[in-house]
Amino acid sequence: MKNLIQFVTKNFFVFLFGFLLFISFVLLVQNNNYQNSKVFNSSNFLIGNLYSTINNVNEYFDLKSVNADLAEQNAKLQSTQIATFTKINGTVVEINDTVYAQKYVYTSAKAVNTTTNKRENYITIDKGSLNGIEVGMGVVSPLGVIGTVKNVSENFCSVMSVLHEKNAVSAKIKKTGYIGSLVWELGNYRIAQLKDIPNHVKLNVGDDIITTGYSMVYPEGIMVGKVVGFDLPEGNNFYNIDIELSVDYRSLSHVFIVKSWMKNEQHELEALNDAK
């Protein structure tokens, strides 16, 4: 026993090192499983508030372009108003609540922090459980798809962005309707890849890529990006397609969190198929 104590005190430095390294690896592994541990992530109160203070200052520099985006979106919304349509045939009954059930609800929010230089990038947003935000909701901006809510605290939530190794977005080519999955493979934060498009599909540079709405996370038809280049490796049935994302993740500001009313219903129905 005496020898043991002597041994430990003699090599105290090495033991302490082993102990601390062990703790950090435990933290690391836990962190990987849960993506973010509860306390020390960027949606916690202290750092979340610090980021939002800094963002308050930074916002002024972006005001001009944000205003332009908002104005553009206003114009689009204005053009879908009933008031902008004229009745052509007086006998048609126009408004009927039983025909249109509301499917998605949008909550406006502000991005307070964003990263683009990691393998797994997250965005912190200033709305949390107090505002009714739940894990799994989609996040979009006027320009396109942003990501999926991953963690929620009282006042903030962190969003797994499209620039995340493990995040795949179901997307389709607007013109032909072929469906693929959008993934991001490190490096350039403006470029992502569209997979699973078979080789008989006709493709053009500049084709619009939009969301499918299949997973009920994002509404159908949200912009994702444009094709900037593609090639067909020999002996392969699928294209390699490069997509320029329509959202610049380094200048995010106003975003919308999307709540789907029918997501649970769809998932329950689909779960019945698996149960058999």
Binding site: F17, S42, K118
Partner: protein, 172 residues
């Protein structure tokens, strides 16, 4: 003594804020990211007890990790560097040991010594950090390139910081 401790405390917080709020946003094509905060461990006085260096490294790592929501990643790297520092200081010690009242900085130890000492620690730190981040060997050379390029960038930043110190102590 108290003044020294206070000085290190302030530099601790300044480095964390500088890293978390400014340097984390720097990137060249997603390839090079400087991690200047490790200079805190490099600059600790020679007489600092070994265990204290380890503990300080651990706290520094936790603080940096809180900014990036990557708990454990920077922490393991800083603890590793704190460990390596002890042995490196033994290896690069001048004949007759370190003189009293000298610190690991250019004006005390000379440019060559400092470059050698800091560069080795920074490269060790970046290699450890980037491999822990990728956690797989499939992109071995890509990660190696990222780590070395970022380490080079950090060394340049460390030298710039040192030059600031150099001037202020000379005029004081």
């Amino acid at each position: 003594m108290i003044r020294e401790v206070l000085k290190y405390c302030i530099s601790f917080f300044v480095l964390i804020l500088f890293q978390g709020l400014i340097l984390n946003n720097i990137e060249f094509g997603g390839y090079v990211v400087p991690f200047l905060y490790v200079v805190f461990i490099i600059a600790l006085p020679f007489e600092t007890p070994n265990w204290l260096v380890l503990i300080l490294g651990f706290i520094l790592g936790i603080a940096i990790d809180s900014f990036t929501s990557t708990l454990g990643m920077h922490t393991s790297a800083t603890v590793f560097v704190a460990f390596c520092r002890f042995y490196l200081l033994k290896i690069v010690a001048p004949r007759g040991g370190y003189e009293f009242n000298t610190k690991p900085r250019i004006q005390d130890m000379g440019l060559v010594w400092y470059l050698f000492y800091a560069t080795i620690l920074i490269i060790l730190h970046h290699l450890f950090l980037f491999y822990v981040e990728s956690f797989k060997m499939t992109q071995f050379f890509y990660t190696l390139g990222r780590a070395l390029a970022s380490a080079l960038f950090t060394v340049v930043l460390v030298l710039i910081v040192q030059l600031f110190n150099y001037k202020s102590t000379k005029s004081a």
